[in-house]
């Protein structure tokens, strides 16, 4: 498999405290890697640093051999797309939120794929009839599904998912997990999935990265 994303010597600090250091990871096209670790080990910070939303203390991230600066930060983030643990939707309808990325210069060559959006909503268990409903009036679980649909519509190459099923009921987790894996595989995407649930990591991903192996003191490396 081709090497798509390469993380070299990544160290992340918060408030002057190093959360982890010396992290190397190569993510191949179509590969799904789970990121596990106890709370406070820097899982979310790692995804944010990989997405370029915050600077790492050290290290580089390369997409197809290019730094985000060479690729262009908006272009890079569209390709390496971070999704927050909380569903974040703006005030407006589901349609407004799904079409939001297509108002950006980085997507100017693509119009909002309305039919694909409706189909994906149905796939994720949200009726496409809700397209004109106020997005924030949906349940938290449905908002999270809308966020997943929005992420897929952007057609990234790598998904950075932070606890992607955290807002879902226990009953819904398994069905969304299945759809998530199916859509990711079908589209040939790679993914880094942060989860505190080891069983979920095993169900979703090809391999598991344990961040505590890269703790500040370097123990267990």
């Amino acid at each position: 498999m081709d090497e798509l994303l390469s993380i070299k010597g990544l160290s992340v600090a918060a408030g002057g405290v190093t959360l982890f250091s010396g992290l190397d990871l190569r993510l191949a096209t179509g590969e799904m890697v789970a990121v596990c670790g106890p709370s406070g080990s820097g899982k979310t910070s790692m995804l944010r640093a990989v997405a370029g939303l915050s600077d790492p203390a050290e290290g580089t991230v390369l997409l197809r051999g290019s730094t985000p600066g060479e690729t262009g930060w908006p272009e890079y983030r569209r390709s390496v797309l971070f999704m927050d643990q909380r569903p974040v939707l703006l005030q407006g309808t589901v349609r407004t939120n799904l079409s939001l990325p297509f108002t950006y210069a980085v997507n100017r060559e693509r119009a909002f794929p309305e039919e694909e959006a409706a189909a994906l909503l149905e796939t994720f268990g949200v009726s496409s009839a809700r397209m004109d409903q106020e997005a924030r009036s949906l349940s938290q679980g449905q908002q999270q599904r809308v966020c997943l649909v929005r992420a897929f519509l952007v057609r990234p190459e790598v998904l950075l998912l932070d606890e992607p099923t955290s807002a879902l009921d226990q009953d819904a987790i398994s069905s969304v997990e299945t759809i998530l894996v199916e859509e990711t595989r079908k589209r040939g995407l790679s993914a880094l999935v942060v989860t505190h649930d080891k069983a979920q990591a095993e169900r979703l991903c090809d391999r598991i990265l344990n961040l505590s192996d890269y703790g500040a003191s370097g123990e267990g490396r």
Binding site: L53, W73, P74, R77, F82, P101, T103, A105, V154
Partner: protein, 262 residues
């Protein structure tokens, strides 16, 4: 001709305040001390200003004008940057620079170009005009900055969501920027909507009391409203745009952590 006021005339107006203070005492409102303090401050501040302005008008040079203008700008900048709930390093200096360029720029355009005062810095024109422009710019700047910084702090997750989807820093910030500038403009737009209908503006009233033809006073007032609107809008836009540049770096990252609550 203006009818001059004797100290006795002023004392009679002060007697009206005494009536208010008496009512406050009778009803136990405990407002009398504050009222007395505010009245004393009004007298002292205005007498001082009158004395300083008289001297500056007599000297009529840029050197005499400069300390007054500088004092006005420093106080206005300090007040504008002191009101927002959040702040960042260098905000006071930024506020001073923005207000100097916008308020002073607008005022000098008025004295030098529109009114054509000779010389352009004649203190009897420049100081009152600057005072009116600066007061409104200060309000516009502080309202807009407060709203922008609060939006960035409270809705940072929405801005970062947009950045994560591929938005540029400007695309992610444009909503809070536009809303902040709109908020900063509300007071002056409201005043422009009702000027002359709900209340007669102070400057126009002053000119009429001083014996000016009302049509001249009206023309001056229209000009002043435009100066104030220009100063307040440019000040609000300038401050919000420079704050935006402070809060987003060239890697299109939001630097929310540079904001601290007062």
């Amino acid at each position: 001709m203006v009818i001059n006021l004797s100290p006795w005339d002023v004392a009679i107006s002060a007697a009206l305040i005494l009536v208010s203070a008496g009512i406050s005492i009778a009803l136990g409102l405990k407002m009398e001390k504050r009222l007395a303090y505010a009245s004393i401050r009004t007298v002292v501040q205005l007498l001082l200003v009158g004395f300083v302005l008289q001297r500056v008008f007599e000297i009529n040079t840029v050197i005499a004008l400069l300390p007054v203008v500088l004092f006005m700008l420093v106080i206005a900048a300090h007040t504008a940057s002191g009101r927002p709930a959040f702040r960042f390093r260098g905000m006071g200096m930024l506020s001073f620079s923005v207000m100097t360029v916008t308020s002073l720029g607008v005022t000098i355009t008025a004295t030098g170009l529109i009114i054509g005062v000779e010389p352009w810095f004649r203190p009897s024109y420049l100081i009152p005009l600057l005072g009116m422009v600066l007061g409104n710019t200060m309000n516009g700047v502080s309202l807009a900055t407060d709203h922008f910084l609060e939006s960035v702090k409270e809705k940072g997750h929405e801005i970062e969501m947009e950045l994560a989807l591929g938005a540029t820093r400007w695309e992610a910030a444009r909503r809070p920027v536009a809303e902040a500038v709109r908020r900063g403009m509300i007071p002056i737009v409201n005043s422009m909507m009702v000027v002359g209908v709900v209340s007669l503006p102070g400057m126009m009233t002053g000119q009429i009391l001083a014996g000016s033809d009302p049509t001249v006073a009206v023309k001056y007032q229209i000009m002043v409203m435009f100066l104030i609107a220009a100063g307040a809008s440019m000040g609000a836009m300038g401050m919000v745009l420079f704050s935006y540049r402070k809060l987003f770096n060239c890697r299109h990252q939001l630097l929310g952590s540079i904001l601290s609550r007062r």
